[in-house]
């Protein structure tokens, strides 16, 4: 049990998928202008990342490794993720319309969110077992959500500040992200 807690902490804080592993930066910058969209995106990522992590783990060990076709990993993972997203979208629309309305346009965007694909690949590269893959996927997603929501809070404040013209928009956002990343840097050496 202790091992899983250490794994979770290291995935959420120390190896934060956004700020330390550089994954998922496009939605990070794209959806962090408003708190509402950031929360929506964070929820959608938690939902899809956990499912994608488990399914790609199973696909890797029960299909690719078994038939010795690991070189098809990239293509099969992206297909799994794309169809999973489509499936989740249809399922939510039918059965949980409230959640579907909440996640809205963020669901289809997740297909090209490299945090999802990246976390699935990390699970395989680190040779996690099924439980570890589950914990790691969930923690990565939580770390993503945490960083995204924190960042959205900061960006809402920046709107009120007077930013020099050349620094406006993406430029100041990146510098802010750098400072946020610096604070997460402090967690290094904790575990």
């Amino acid at each position: 049990m202790g091992d899983y807690i250490v794994l979770a902490i290291s995935c959420i804080l120390i190896n934060n998928i956004l700020l330390a592993q550089y994954l998922g930066n496009c939605p990070f910058l794209g959806t962090s202008k408003k708190m509402e969209t950031a929360v929506g995106m964070a929820m959608a990522v938690v939902f899809v990342l956990v499912m994608a992590g488990l399914i790609t783990w199973a696909v890797n060990y029960y299909v690719l490794v078994k038939y010795n076709i690991e070189y098809l990993r990239t293509i099969s993972f992206i297909l799994v993720i794309a169809s999973l997203v489509q499936f989740v979208e249809m399922f939510l629309k039918k059965s949980i319309p409230a959640l579907y309305a909440g996640l809205g346009i963020f669901l289809p965007l997740i297909t090209t969110n490299c945090a999802v694909m990246g976390a699935c690949l990390i699970n395989i590269n680190e040779e996690y077992n099924f439980m570890q893959a589950l914990v790691a996927s969930f923690s990565y997603a939580v770390g993503f959500g945490l960083a995204l929501i924190l960042f959205a809070g900061v960006r809402e404040k920046i709107l009120l500040a007077r930013v020099p013209k050349p620094l406006q928009d993406t430029s100041i956002a990146l510098v802010t992200a750098g400072i946020l990343s610096l604070t997460f840097f402090a967690f290094k050496g904790m575990v």
């Binding site: 994954l23 098809l72 990239t74 490299c114 050349p166 620094l167 992200a177 990343s181």
Partner: protein, 197 residues
């Protein structure tokens, strides 16, 4: 087709240079630019995928039904990424190890999908080739320049050659994650300063 082939190529070098003008494909930009060499390697790999997928998408644009086009694009892109992955594993193994998961992640690089959707699906083969090549070269240049700044400050070297001499105290911050964000942010600011005059 008002624009000439050269124009399609050149626009990728300044007017639409990724990731500065088109803010897409940030993840590989931030992750692999610890050195010039990595930046160039990643840039070339992306260029190959970009050109390949652009040409194939534009060749098949009359066949692909519009409703499932995104899925078709992704399969085409994933195929080229697998090719690059295997080629790099065979011929440039050390680089393959350094770039790690960012090679398979070219699949989800929004630049590639973005060009397929925004350009190749609507244009002929030759302009698409020029567009892919231009954006790819622009991307490589951006990665190399960001890599140069970070490598110079972080290790005091460029392409492995000492620049500042042995007494230089490396500014390690630049090669870590925070330095990547801030470095890119400041370069973007610099481009805005130059471009808006």
């Amino acid at each position: 087709m008002a624009k000439s082939i050269t124009q399609e190529f050149v626009k990728g070098l300044w007017a639409e240079i990724p990731p500065f003008r088109l803010v897409l494909g940030l993840c590989p930009t931030l992750a692999v630019t610890k050195s010039v060499e990595n930046g160039i390697g990643m840039g070339l790999a992306t260029t190959f995928v970009l050109v390949g997928s652009n040409v194939l998408v534009s060749m098949l644009r009359k066949v692909i039904p519009a409703k499932v086009r995104i899925a078709c694009f992704i399969i085409i892109i994933a195929t080229f990424v697998t090719v690059v992955e295997l080629l790099m594993q065979a011929f440039t193994y050390p680089l393959f190890l350094t770039l790690g998961i960012f090679i398979p992640l070219i699949v989800v690089n929004c630049i590639v999908l973005g060009r397929a959707e925004a350009f190749a699906f609507k244009n002929g083969v030759i302009p698409s080739l020029a567009d892919g090549l231009g954006i790819g070269v622009g991307f490589t240049l951006s990665l190399a320049s960001l890599g140069a700044v970070r490598e110079l400050l972080g290790y005091g070297t460029v392409l492995g050659h000492q620049v500042f001499g042995a007494s230089y105290e490396p500014f390690t911050f630049m090669v870590e994650a925070p330095g990547a964000f801030i470095g890119l942010g400041l370069m973007l600011c610099l481009m805005n300063l130059v471009g808006n005059k």
